[in-house]
Structures are given as C-alpha cells and as structure tokens.
Amino acid sequence: MEAQIAINTPDPGPVSPPNNIISAKNLTKIFNTETVVDHISFEIPNSIIFGFVGPSGSGKTTTIRLLTGLYTPTEGTVTMFGKNPAKFKQNERSRFGYMPQLFVLYPNLTVWENLNFAASLYGMSFVRGKRLKNALNFVELYDHRHELARNISGGMQRRLSLAATLVHNPILLFLDEPTAGIDPILRQKFWEHFRELKQQGTTIFITTQYVSEADNCDLVGVQSNGKLLIVDTPRGLRHHTYGGDMVDLHAIESITYQEEANLRSLPFVLPRTIRTGENSVRIIVDQASTAVPALVEWAQQQNIKVKSLEEYLPSFDDVFVELVRREVKDE
C-alpha cells in the first residue's frame, strides 16, 4: 500500500529525493501464509529522525530487518545509500548501526568489555579507548564501565546497546524500540541523545510502540497490521487525520445550536464541530494560525463573549486510534 504523504505548508517538508538515505518500494514480507509487511513504500531523507509507530505485532521489527538486509523481501525493493543492503561489502556495513529490541550482548562481560567487543566487530583500531570512553559518556555509563552487564539495570543495558550501536560512528542508525519498557525519565533522556545525534548529522530510523513519542520525530510512519497507513510530519499527521487543525472555543455563556450552525457555515471552518461542553465547542479549520483571529472577529459580531480561543493539539494516541479506526472502516 502506498502511504499518503501529506505535507502542510507551515512545516518544512522532507528533504528532496536525491538526499534520501533509505528508499523502500512495495516492500512485502510473507512468513508462510502470513503477510507481516504489506506492500509498504517510503523514503527517508538524510539527517532526520524517522519514527516508525505502531502497536506490538504491527510489523515494525520485520520492516527494520528488511531495511538492514537481515531479511530478504518477499516482494519489493529496498535501498540504503542507493544500494541493496543485502549486497553491501564489508566497509559499507560500517556505515550504519543496528540496535535490536532485546539486549543481545554478553551478560558475563563488563560494560567496557562488551563495548570493546562491539568495536572490534567493526575492525576499529586497537587504540580505541577514547572512542569507547566517548560512547559511554554519551549514554552516561562511563562510571559503570567495570560492572558486569548482567548486574546493571534494564535501562542501563539499553544504553549499553545504544553505545555499542554508536561506537563505530555510523551515519545511519536503526533503533528497534529502544524506549520500550523503560521509565519516562529515561525515555526522555534517550530522546535527548537521539536529537543530539541528529544534530551531529546522523539519520535515525526508530521504531516505537509509544505513539506519543511521534512528537519527537521529524517524520512519522504509522504502521498497523503490516500496512503503512501514513508518513508525515507530526503536525501533518494530526492535520491529515482530522482533515485540518482543531481550535477550542470556550464562551462565558452557553453557545446555542444556531450559533454553532453559523460557525460551521464560515468558509475557513470545516462543516464539522464537536460539542465539548455547554459553553464550549471544538472546531476544525484549515489553518489554526489564520483561523483564530478570524474566529475572534466572528464572535464579536455574534455578541459571543469568548473566555478562550486556542488551538487544540490532540494526543498522538488519539491520532493513532483515529487512523486505525478509519483504516478498519475503509476495509
């Protein structure tokens, strides 16, 4: 299924195609008779955080494995740096890093030894102490470098995995649910790390089942039942899901049904409002930035005393539920 890419004018759109670091066309993976990834297509530009959002079992990990060349697609093609990743030469493999969903390093080695092992897998010079130290400092594990991996917390194991993925300075990172099962404070820290990496020019492909984390991404792909429902910016995602921006109008007195009908007849307002209370109504508009002043003016004309008028940003959980509901309805 071709994802709908809706790019709204206020947001800078994805970088132009020549800068795309990953390109997937009609990518499909079928295990026995089960279609796990269903004809998905998308492109990922350089130096962005691409969030791949979806519930557990939606096909995110399979997609990441297809992109990294771990799996061969049943159908479709994938290119990374303009080449099929399954055909990469040894030196080309050093250009990207992959952090699996689970901790796959060695529990009987210390933090430092595990990182050292990961570094040597990439053929990094024996004089690599500084690089290891930097990687551990980046994930704030340097002080724990002598501890055995089996003795550190789950969150620390995740950070160690991240350090092992970063240690060879890849320009593209695949992170498979790095924030799953960890506390919100640590999750926030992870996102700070990712943003820092992005600032340094690294492209990050990250999967997450926390829909709310989509806000941290530059581009978000929403996957459900193997299908890619949409790829857009976080703001564009909301806009696309509800057909426009949402504005909440709170009046001092009650809003009559006639006034609500008048509201729906305004040219910049979509013919759909949501009653959120006796004195309040949620309005869907083309652009919240231009609609708010126009609505203030309209309220004055209608002698409606406005208590507040502000843009409403629905949670990504709501956005996701709406998208999936619509997908089910379409089917």
Partner: protein, 510 residues
Amino acid sequence: MSRIFRSFIRASSFLTKEFYEVLRQPRLIVSLVLGPFLILFLFGIGYRDQNRVLRTIFVIPKNAVISAQDIQKYSETIKSLIQIEGVTDNKNSALDQLRQGTIDMVIEEPEAAFSIIKNNHQAVFNVYHNEIDPVQIDYIDYLGWLYVGAVNQQVLQAFTSQGQKDAAKLHQDLRDAHANIAAAKKAIQTGDNATGQQKQQELTGNLDSISLLAGGTLGLLDSYQATDGGDTGSGDHVQTTLSDINQNTNVINNPATSPEDRLTRLDKIDKDLSDLDTKLGVVQNISPAVLVSPFSSLTRSVANYQPSLLSFFVPAVLALLLQHVAITFAALSIVRERNVGTVELFKISPISATEVLFGKYLSYMLFGGIIAAALALLMHFILHLPMWGNWWYFTLTVAVILFTSLGYGFVISIISQTDSQAVQYSMIFLLASVFFSGFIMGLEKLIGPVRIVSWMLPTTYGTILLRNIALRGLIPDWILLGGLAAIGVFLLFIAWLLMRRLIGSSAWSK
C-alpha cells in the same frame, strides 16, 4: 589500516571475549582441570590390583567320589580367588544363599563321577552364580575352569604318583631280566640247553611284566619327548624299544634259532633293557606335579615400559576429556549467540563467517590448550604419568585433537536450535567415545563397519597417539595424525559453509 589487519581485529574480538567469559567462571575452570585430575588421583590411590574373591559353598553329594576334604584341598590352587564359606550336601540351601546374596558362587561336585567317566563321558562340575554383569560372568566361568583344571591336575598327580610307586617293581623286574639274560647267555655259550631254556622262560616272564609296567610309567616320558621333538638322551621311544624287545624275545624262543643268533638277540634285549632302566631313572627323578603339568608360561614384554593401569588410562582420559570439553564449549557458543540474538549483530556488522570461525577456533584452541597443559603437568608430576616420547609431539597431537573436536562442536552448534539440543549432541559424542574409541575395550572387538564410528571420533586417534608417545616413546603415527587433521579440515569447511548460511545471504558478499 590494511584490510588484513582489520580482519584480524574483527577475529580477535572473540579471543578477548571468550577469555573474559571463561575467566569469569572460575568454578568451571576448576572443575575442568581439577575434576578429572581428582578422579584419576582417587582411582590411582583407590584401585586394588586384585581379583575379586568369591564367597563359595561346595555342594558334595553323599555318594561323592571326591571327599569334602579333598575338595577343599583342590581349591588351594585358587585360594586367592575364592573364600570357602562351607561344604554341604544340601544343594537347595546353597542356592538359596546364592539368591539372597550371602554367597557369590556354588560349586557342585558331580554325582557318581566314576560311572560317568567309565561310560566315556566327562563328569561335570556345576558352577552356579547370581550375576548379571557379563564381565563377572566371564570371570566366574574362568574360575570354574581354573577349579576343574585344579581338580583334574590333582587326580592326575595321584595317578602319576601311583605310577612312580609302581616303578620300583619295574626296577626289580629289570634287574631280574638282566640277570636272566646273563645266565641264559652263559648257558648257551656252555651248551647247557636246559638251563638256557629255563632262563629264557624266566626272562620272557620278566619282559611281559616290564612291558606292562613300562608302557604306563615310561609312556608319559615318551609323550613329552614327542611333544618336544627332541630326545631324552637315552635311545629310542619307549614303545619302539618294547616292540624290539618283544620281537627279539619271540626269536630267541623259537627252537629253530641258532645259538649265535640267540646270543646276538639276548645282547640286543640287554641293551634295550638298559635304555629302559635309564629312562626309568629319569621318570623317578621327576615330581608328579611336574609330570602332570610339565609346561608353564612366563610373560615378558619387549616394550621399554610397563605402565600401571592408571598410567595406561591417563592418555585416554586426557583425549576423551579434551574432545568433550572442545565439543561442548564449541557446541554451546554459537547456538547461544543465535538464541540471544547476538548473531544479528554479526550479520549487520562487517565481520565475515571466516573471521567469526577463525576467532572462535583460536580462542577455544588456546583455552583447550591451557586446560590440556594444566592436566598433563598435573598428571605427569603428581600421578607420575611417564613421558617416554617428545613433549612437542604430545602438544601437536593435543592441538589436532582440539582442532577436530572443535569442528564437530561448531557444526553441532550451528545445526542445533537450542542449548539442550547442543548439549544432547555433545553427550552422544561422549557416549560414543566411551564405547567405540577403545577407551574401555579394544577396537578389535568391534566388527569392521562399526569401526567406522570409531575412526570418526577424535578420542580414538588421541588415545592411540598419546599412549604411543607417552608410554612407548614413539613418534606420532603420521597417517593417524594426518587422518585426524583431515577430518578436522573437512569439519572446518562444513562449519564455514553453515556459518556463511547462518550469517545470512548478505554474508555471501562479505
């Protein structure tokens, strides 16, 4: 940085990783080195080079030919192997005790043995036991055989002793015969035909008696002479001599025989009787025990060293242990990495199948080498395993055993889906090695096709090679060592193919 150097760095990742992982398991190292050493040490100090002593009851029927006293006397020859718990005529009671385990063996004397023998049959001693172990059953068979041999020997000794007593009468007959010959010759020479005839008749009587006694007593000597193929130094065989005497006697008793011929024949008979007398002297000087068992054996080895049972087993234990450690460690290494997901890191990273295998072979060879060195030194200096050969050849053989065993281990590891499967396959190799490698029983006891299994096992080669080097001081049999190395190379190739497949299709381009 050169491509080869990068490749070396990638392979070396396993060297340090395995080193640290093993180092973090001190109990494992202790169990791998000290465990087998302590087992051998305990075996060395606890093993008694003595046969099992079987508690035995003799069942003697009431009408037995051999008395209870004799039965006990006969068992003297195997007294170190049996302990007589009693003599009874109640067979059922003895068998009950056997079933209850209070005794180990019941030997039943045959009833009416003489009548059986007279009917040209062997009288059978029944030997009862309650064993299920085939080795113990063989041992009891052997003891029964020994016991009956001892009984037969005692019976023969009694016969022989009686024969020697009879020899005194034979000696007297011989003296009488010589006297009668002298008297007969004198009578013939003087023409006294009547006396001559009388002495000849007396001589004939003497000779009949001699013929009867000498046939039994001196015949035994004749048999040894025939067996030996040599000579007693006293003339012809007894039967030939007796036949000559008989023939000459017939001639002299013939009235038509001339006096000259008679004299000649009497001289010949006289000489033959002297020969018999000489032989009789020989027989009388030999004890009955030697006469019935004239031969014994003495085993001598041309090998330069006769190892103790412990020393003999130490090289085999070392080979078996190294094979088991190498197969088990290698078998678990990759299957664990695959189950945990670490293999995905290998697939993604630039490391190739060759580098992974090289790194793992190198690390486990070093690890196995350290264990082998520690064990060999402990066994040499504490258990006194001799080293008649060259330590370098010993080291080379150990290296090839490890190399080939690791090949098996890595192949197992790649084809196994779980740790349990890998361990199970390793245990099958261990079990096969115990039965087919010559560790317990020699390869010659296996039929040809089954020996194929033996020659697939590193322990088979290791046992032969290490024993020959350490205990015989030989250089390695290069064909055996080469064969083992060839299996190792073949397994390396298989492991490499499987590893390439495991690391993924992308790995073909690595």
